[in-house]
Subunit: 401 residues, 2 copies
Amino acid sequence: MLVVKKFGGTSVANKERIFNVANRCIEDYRAGHDVVVVLSAMGKYTDELIDMAKDINENPPKREMDMLFTIGEQMSVALMAMAMNKLGVPAVSLNAFQVAMHTTSVYGNARLKRIDSERIRHELEQRKIVIVTGFQGVNKYDDYTTLGRGGSDTTAVALAAALNADRCEIFTDVDGVFTADPRKVKGARKLDNITYDEMLELATLGAGVLHNRSVELAKKFGVTLVVRSSLNTEEGTKVRRGSKMEKMLVSGVAADTDTARIAVIGLKDEPGVAFKLFNALAQHNINIDMILQSYGREGTKDISFTVARDDADEAAKVIDENFSEYEKVDVNKTVAKVSIVGAGMQSNAGVAAKMFEALYDENINIRMISTSEIRVTVLIDDKNTERAMQAVHDKFALGER
Amino acid sequence: MLVVKKFGGTSVANKERIFNVANRCIEDYRAGHDVVVVLSAMGKYTDELIDMAKDINENPPKREMDMLFTIGEQMSVALMAMAMNKLGVPAVSLNAFQVAMHTTSVYGNARLKRIDSERIRHELEQRKIVIVTGFQGVNKYDDYTTLGRGGSDTTAVALAAALNADRCEIFTDVDGVFTADPRKVKGARKLDNITYDEMLELATLGAGVLHNRSVELAKKFGVTLVVRSSLNTEEGTKVRRGSKMEKMLVSGVAADTDTARIAVIGLKDEPGVAFKLFNALAQHNINIDMILQSYGREGTKDISFTVARDDADEAAKVIDENFSEYEKVDVNKTVAKVSIVGAGMQSNAGVAAKMFEALYDENINIRMISTSEIRVTVLIDDKNTERAMQAVHDKFALGER
């Protein structure tokens, strides 16, 4: 069996943890498996590198930032190889050039295009554990690139796909994917299985165990993902293609408080207004999430949308600078999104209504609603977030199998 | 004009010094020159990496040590590019893969085989300052290698040769090459010019401004080397091919206290004894410096030689384990080598005698003597080192032009 195992920065933050990871990988190796390990930079090292750079140049060229960033993972993989060697197991560390990991050109946020598997296969044939730098790639100019947020997860999944691995294990500090955040919702239960689509909705909605890019990639190539804890040997949660049989009505509740609502009141009701509005925002790289358009007073319409909380003021500014024909812009930064996700939802009426009922029972006001085939999201006041999650979780009895 | 400028770790040890180096390079750039900069790892960062590795594995695989080491220079070059960018000058950092720097396979002590100049030339044509990682290379397996001691100097000279640069400036914390160490010898004078061969002897003998590998390479490719200070704008010392006219009788005095003498007394006087002795030492990677063989008592001979002080005990052990037919091994770790170097020496009798006279005047006993065409070296008790240097320096009036 060929296994790709990915460990994040906290899992390799110090000597003790490095040896912990080494031992876990060696277990699989000794069981006869081929083991490829993907590592992030140690602990907060990437942040230290950012501080180092900003001290020299508060606005460093992105190309050079990536050149600096990549040393973080290279440090991790070299030390890990030394640790495994110390434990008597042959291991070899490889960076993005050595693999090679080909990406698009854009610095700081590149996409993986192609991974050469030759070198890794050669090392595996020598019965070595192969330790690969996550997060980094090389573009067509032979420059280092980094993959942006969730980059190391993406590296691991892409490697698993390129090597046709039997599974890709993503190690985190939680036991797997839960029906809701167990720190916030009583009775939250670990899921044994979840579909790619459900995981995607959860990732997008701030459940945050896996970055959606890695889940999308896993879905595309049919890579069996396992989310599990680096602190214990629990089985974790398997993310894979779901069959109808397995589909749960609702598999989880997620909340995201990093959001703000912008309402543009009294826009002229004529063709192209929405296009112009969102085009202006897109040109300022402001990502829009939920959108709601309603009739305003005579001859006008209102458009509300949500953005990341940090982008709210700039969004309002962009509107102010690009539009004149509206009544007012209202920014609300004390909102939160609460969502239910489940692949079974699409064939089952009444799921949304049941969620609204749970919130009504708690007297929680819904400000916006957005749905996809396998998700229902509501926008509420953020002070009610945990109460809302608990109510919805209880209503769907997610804590029970 | 194309200039290669090499700065060591102390020159880039902190933000202030990084900007100092950036400014010096930008001066040349603004004067219209093409500038290639070679950097070492910042300050004592390589030592920190060693500590980090040893904490994990006291005997780490050399391949992984090199993987770890190379991040030091990559950090330096990325930060330098950011500093130059901050000062408004386009700059690009390149590592050993990007250049590319091809080396022999051996980890920790590789030799440069070939440097591709295409990428650097391309960047220079874009009017960028090109900042290259010193000390590192890539071998035929696509693994990082490091060049061992003096590696960054070697990188700089090899780059200058590959790019056909007009000069290669090696920046240090001294003003250039002196007739003797100015901290130890009164009246020591900075030399404006010195030949490759003289510099080679001085480097080998512990004058320590330049590593002999870099000087050998400069000689081979006729690269004009300039040794100068990173702290001021003095002209420094030019190292180049010397004509007969310019040859000085004696150009400098050097001392090396990192040495120990091993005397093997009473070896059997038969063919092959010396071969077997030094072959055994070579197989344990012990480098031999001076060798002296003399007749011992009837039917035996004595062989004395010098090694680096750290190798002395192991050398004695190797002899003990591999030979039985000798009387005793004597290890003396309180010796020093003092040498005079000068390209004019070879055509001038009496130079050695004059050196011995200087030592005799000071009542300093000579334990061994070794000579080359342009060098005379004596082994003395190390407590007499500075006194010997001063006496020889004065005798040859090296402080006067």
